[in-house]
């Protein structure tokens, strides 16, 4: 009886524990099957989150390491719905807020303050306020502003390149934003990494061959010249013939890329193709010299006017006869016409093409113009003649500058480099002999010593150059009221290390010739650039 009584108590205790344990197990199974997924996701939501692996846009540097486009990190502070006044006052104590609590709409997410610094962000986080949110933002700055805006372009607030090199090299500069799943603590701080959902790709910096100091000189003189001549547009291209790199590309009108109200202007250096006028006469001459149709010292009869297909082409004065180099020196229309007719249609076209006209340029830029040449089969003599003095074909300032660099590079055509990070070797090919290049340079030196380009002379240096004046084609007619004035010069001295092209567009009828307008602009730029690069005339030492 005692044993039974004792066993009964033991039985009861065991039964109780078995039932209790069974109840717990049953409840566990019920929860697991009925609410398992919901509870698991609710738990994950409390201690896991997906966060963006942000990538800061790369910097664009010039050849000296000066930043031309740079991203600065900041934080935007937002109020979430339900933010209380006492919490806002705490914020007020640690950062200088521009808004008061009354200015904030606390019924929805609203911006309190933009561009907080890292220090301010830390102070805000230390307050551990629930109903606020900080968003990391990147602001793009362009220290050179309008001086280089048409080349560099700009990117939007979403860090996407919208214009210029910012657009061309967007994938390199932007990288790729990724995402990852992380474990976080009770305060929302990241505790551990769980998995990468989308891998990020780091952004890269871009190094370009532009020298910001030379760019400044080019832009400053360009804008002064445009304003003093009441013109509306212009360009400067500066090429380093030693390294085959671009040193400056100035284009006006420009815009301030730092301003949200910017009015985008095209990069005229690459896009504005125009009839170059007399500036291409030496290029036509190079074709004739290369094919031994003429020698540089040959004498030609140059009457004051000549009639071609019933059209009269005339010079400013009676020369009688001129040596071939003097035709370039005096920029004789009649002489250029005779050279073009001697060369004929096929040679003229083939020659211009070898110098890069009507072909795309090899610069990675969102859009580039590459001009055109009149190549119709049944070309009349007058059409061939006009090709000789720069009409009937169009080219961009960059194409003209690269074509002239052939004379500095002993007859070899080079594609000039703008982006230093591009590893592919630049295209180059000999297109005329060194002898022809030297002969053309001889003619070009005479332009600045005795010819139309005297105002381009930089004291103490020899410059090989050529002027160009173009009447602008408007509505299918040439109007003698609007002109484009150009000058391209190679120097200093026999080293020929720098090619500088300048043009001023939409000049009025008062002063418009290449010799009067573009040549002095070249002289100012060249004086500063030569001094900056360490070329000094002997008198200075």
């Amino acid at each position: 009886m005692i044993a039974f009584y004792q066993n009964w108590r033991l039985f009861l205790i065991i039964t109780f524990f078995v039932l209790a344990f069974g109840g717990v197990i049953t409840r566990m199974i019920m929860i697991q099957t009925n609410q398992g997924l919901f509870l698991q996701s609710a738990g994950n939501a409390q201690n896991q989150s997906i966060r963006e692996i942000s990538v800061k846009r790369g910097t664009i540097f010039d050849r000296n390491g000066t930043p031309l486009a740079i991203s600065i990190t900041g934080f935007d502070l937002f109020a979430l719905s339900g933010l209380e006044k006492k919490d806002f006052e705490k914020l007020f104590q640690v950062i200088d807020l521009e808004k008061s609590f009354a200015d904030i709409n606390t019924s929805k997410k609203s911006l309190i303050q933009k561009n907080l610094t890292f220090e301010e962000q830390r102070k805000v986080l230390e307050l551990q306020i629930d109903r606020i949110e900080l968003e990391k933002t990147y602001t793009r700055h362009y220290p050179m502003g309008e001086q280089i805006a048409p080349l560099i372009g700009f990117s939007g607030r979403d860090q996407y390149g919208l214009e210029g090199l910012e657009k061309s090299f967007n994938s390199l500069l932007a990288g790729k934003v990724g995402s990852e799943k992380i474990l976080k603590d009770v305060y929302g701080r990241p505790l551990d990494h769980i998995e990468i959902l989308e891998p990020s790709i780091a952004s890269k910096d871009l190094h370009i061959s532009i020298d910001s100091n030379i760019q400044y000189m080019a832009y400053k003189h360009l804008i002064q010249s445009i304003k003093s001549h009441q013109a509306t547009a212009g360009t400067v291209v500066i090429l380093d013939n030693a390294t085959k790199q671009v040193l400056a590309l100035a284009s006006y009108p420009s815009y301030n890329p730092n301003s949200p109200q910017r009015k985008i202007q095209k990069n005229r250096v690459f896009l504005e193709t125009y009839e170059p006028g007399s500036i291409v006469k030496p290029i036509a001459l190079a074709g004739v010299l290369e094919h031994n149709l003429l020698a540089i010292d040959d004498e030609m009869e140059v009457p004051i006017k000549i009639t071609v297909d019933g059209n009269i082409i005339n010079d400013r004065k009676q020369y009688g006869s001129l040596k071939v180099y003097e035709i370039i020196q005096e920029s004789s229309q009649v002489g250029a016409t005779k050279i073009a007719l001697l060369a004929g249609r096929d040679l003229m076209i083939e020659n211009y093409k070898r110098f890069g006209f009507s072909k795309p340029i090899h610069i990675n830029f969102p859009s580039t113009g590459f001009g055109d040449i009149n190549t119709k089969d049944d070309m009349t003599d007058i059409e061939v003649a006009t090709l000789g003095y720069g009409y009937g074909l169009t080219a961009s300032p960059f194409q003209i500058a690269q074509a002239y660099a052939v004379f500095a590079n002993e007859g070899i055509y080079h594609d000039y480099q703008l982006v230093l990070d591009e590893m592919s070797s630049q295209y180059h090919a000999p297109i005329i002999s060194k002898q022809t290049a030297d002969d053309v340079l001889t003619a070009l030196y005479s332009v600045t010593t005795d010819g139309t380009g005297k105002l381009a002379n930089v004291k103490g240096f020899s410059i090989a150059g050529k002027t160009g004046t173009t009447e602008k084609l408007q509505g299918g007619n040439y109007k003698s009221s609007t002109y484009t004035s150009s000058f391209v010069g190679i120097g200093p001295d026999q080293g020929n290390t720098i090619t500088i092209f300048v043009n001023i567009d939409n000049l009025g009828a008062n002063r418009y010739s290449g010799g009067q307008v573009a040549a002095p602009l070249f002289q100012k730029i060249a004086t500063d650039v030569y001094a900056y690069l360490g070329y000094f005339e002997d008198n200075d030492i």
Partner: protein, 88 residues
């Protein structure tokens, strides 16, 4: 018979000790991983802050060093003029 029972119990005991030791170590390693993760996150943020400062300083240096500013100071504050060519 006695020896094999003792051996069996010994193996079980050693395994239990190992499991306990490994469990403790797992906790410690996980803790260390999380500490390092937090440290890494801090270092990434510090790096970004320092890069930011570097960028701001570069921009400031560019402004202070810019030929436009130097030219302005030279002309307006120091009264300097452009050198004229020497006439011999």
């Amino acid at each position: 018979m006695m020896n094999s029972k003792f051996l069996f119990l010994s193996i079980i005991t050693i395994q239990l000790i190992c499991i306990f030791f490994l469990a403790i170590n797992l906790i410690l390693v996980r803790w260390e991983i999380r500490e390092n993760f937090a440290l890494q996150a801090n270092l990434i943020e510090q790096n970004e802050e320092l890069t930011n400062q570097h960028n701001q300083l570069l921009t400031e240096q560019f402004f202070l060093d810019s030929p436009a500013r130097i030219e302005k100071i030279a002309k307006q504050q120091l009264g300097m003029v452009q050198k004229k060519p020497l006439e011999l």
